[in-house]
Amino acid sequence: MPRPALRLAVELDGDGAHPAAWRRAAHAPAELLTPRRIARTAAAAENAGFTLVTLDDSILPPSSGAGPVGRIGAVERAAFVAAATSVVGVAPVVATTYAEPFHVSSQLSSLDHVSAGRAGWVVGTEEDPTAARAWGRPLVEGPEALAREARDGLRVVRDLWDSWEDDAVIRSVATSRYLDRERLHAIDFEGETYSVKGPSIVPRPPQGRPVVLARQDLVPAELTDVALVGGTTAAETGAAGEAAKAAGVPLAFAEIEVALDTPRESARERIADLERYSPWEERPDRLRYSGSAEGLVALLAELAAHVDGVRLLPLVLDEDLSVLSRLVLPELFVRRLATRPLPGTTLRTSLGLPRPVSRFATDTDAVSATPAALVREETR
């Protein structure tokens, strides 16, 4: 049975995936940190037909070497991008390693409100120990502790999203009540390192829960909407996608770093140019593609049998994004290998994900429902 067409995401942080990408950017270096640049890049991705843009982040500078050391916080950029676009989903990277999960929940919930249901969250982690010094918090060290803070943070954030049922605001003039307290819930989270009372200060997000994207080794499958998978070959990547779905994650997206031939230079030449400044380290959890637009289309066609979408990390945004939008995405759409998001719908709808009912819902319809009906129809 053929799978539904691919959903396309693109990472828009900085000037591109290569640490020296800024050398080939089509703007003056300082322009990177301006609202104009951020809006323009997001508009290019939206017009190209991407379903989702992601925005990397850390409290630490993006480069410790000769690259950019400036970055506006991903949540702030995402909210700005949401207001400057109308269709594309927006997912900042946010780590709960040191941040307050209560604030993270409010921020992402608010992002979902300001975008009318287009918010996602790429669950991140602050692995570098110097992040603890920046935060002024006790060091979280080692894979186990990092995973604990990611998992607990995600649990708290999700529960807070659920802590207001959809219809908690009743505006009942007859009883003088704006809220129905029966539809608001303390979450009473007790973790190993902290506890959180709740409920949220923000009403339930339009999507119920913004879309959670995460690496499989970081958080449990049942808390994830989209697994971010990768490998060093297409076969490995496809297998990782299948494995994530077998583990129960609804969707799997392959992570692919891409460098494309442009009208003037080949991908190989462009990479070589940047390698003069710094190496582009390969990561075992990311596929890398360099070459022609047709070659990328062929790779994505191959992967489409195993994953539900891809997250592309372009070598240089100002160069690769335009090749993607002129040559790659149109071809994918024509061949029905990928779909565009529908205007006026939520990110969940574009991804084919149901809208979850609050886990605290007292509504009898929801409680008595069969698993398939655990999803309430989109009512926005």
Binding site: I72, A83, A134, G136, V173
Partner: protein, 454 residues
Amino acid sequence: MTRTDPTDVPRPDAQLHFGVFFQGVNHWTIWSDPASGSQIDPASFLRVARTAERGLFDAFFLGDGQRLRESEGGIHELDVAGRPDSITQLSALAAATDRIGLVSTSNTTYNEPADLARRLAGLDLLSGGRAGWNMVTTHNAWTGENFRRGGFLDHADRYTRAEEFLTVARSVWNGWSEEAVAASADARSWSVPGAVGRVRSRGAHFDVDLAPTLPRSTQGHPVIFQAGDSGEGRDFGARNADVIFSAHGLDFDDALGFAEDVRRRLRAVGRPEDALRILPGTEIIIGATEKEAEEKARWVRLEQVTPAVALGIAGRLWNIDLSGRDADGPLPAEDPVIVEYTGKFGSSRFRDTLATVAEWRAKAEANGWSLREAVIELGPQRGHVGTPAGLAEKFARFVRYGAVDGFNVSPYLVPEGLDDIVDLLVPALQERGVYRTAYTGTTLREHLGLAPVE
């Protein structure tokens, strides 16, 4: 009635500044009226911000509260509640507005300086230098239950933490020198060598070491607002603030007394008297005639103080559950129950219960007030009421005599509540030469007429 005005108007050319406070958690926002819109839909925020921008306001302002209010037995149900994270909401508004300042109330107890300073700086860059930060110090342990450290801070330490917080935040904002980024892609590195500093700070509250990740904005860094009213709060404001958001703006003498107190404190710390702006919070209720305005004010009060709200407020004073009683009847006959103030519930409590109850009884009896009328008349008086011309005259006097620099206006209706202020009052102020007729700057600091940061 008022102190005699000096014959010379001390500030004949003074200009009034307006901010708008989009409220989210108390009974002053009327939700029962059909015109009342959503408290969370982005369209409501946009509508208010754009109306304020049309009215040449300095700032759009969001408050802060990190725990849903409770009344006995559970979540407080009677008032509007549920609001966005302020910096996230304002970052979206940055893309949808051009000139108006965007002020976030953010707490110094349940945030960390490197993170909050970075968020505010991001908002400042995204908005082209329009960000402000209203520093609040709420520290009760009840709010702390939503955070990793719980309620860790003593009342006595709230401002020492805030002050150290601000010191770290300022170092983060000033961490990059001007022209810190390479002029071209051929440079040796993206940042100019030596132009990006490090912030190392070790004090009683923070021990941090970080590399700031943002340049200064067009206005240098976010404008500092402060809203604490205790002596400590006022001293903190005098030392650190650009704007004081006060609760002294209704009565001329009270406002002038507050302003003179702030100026005294400014002099004591060696800052010039015009180093900060004083913007009291207020409602503004407008009618075509005085009578119409009074009738409207009466309607507003009755919508705000519903029978249930009146019983709730009186119940908190008496410490008795009064639900089910008749709000339009007399005050409760029984004596109040005295309990120790715990800082809980997040809604205001009364400090001196016995004296307050005695005063309420005496005044209700003298005026023949019902319980609800007593709550309306004796609760905090909220607003200026009048015709556009009358209010414009009054405000001109307030600002020219140095009692205020302007007002942070709380609309009682979202999102339409600002419309008549912008359409009727602003022109009346402009006619009298006390209100700008166009924005003359692009940053919040410029709107407020503050000196550039050095």
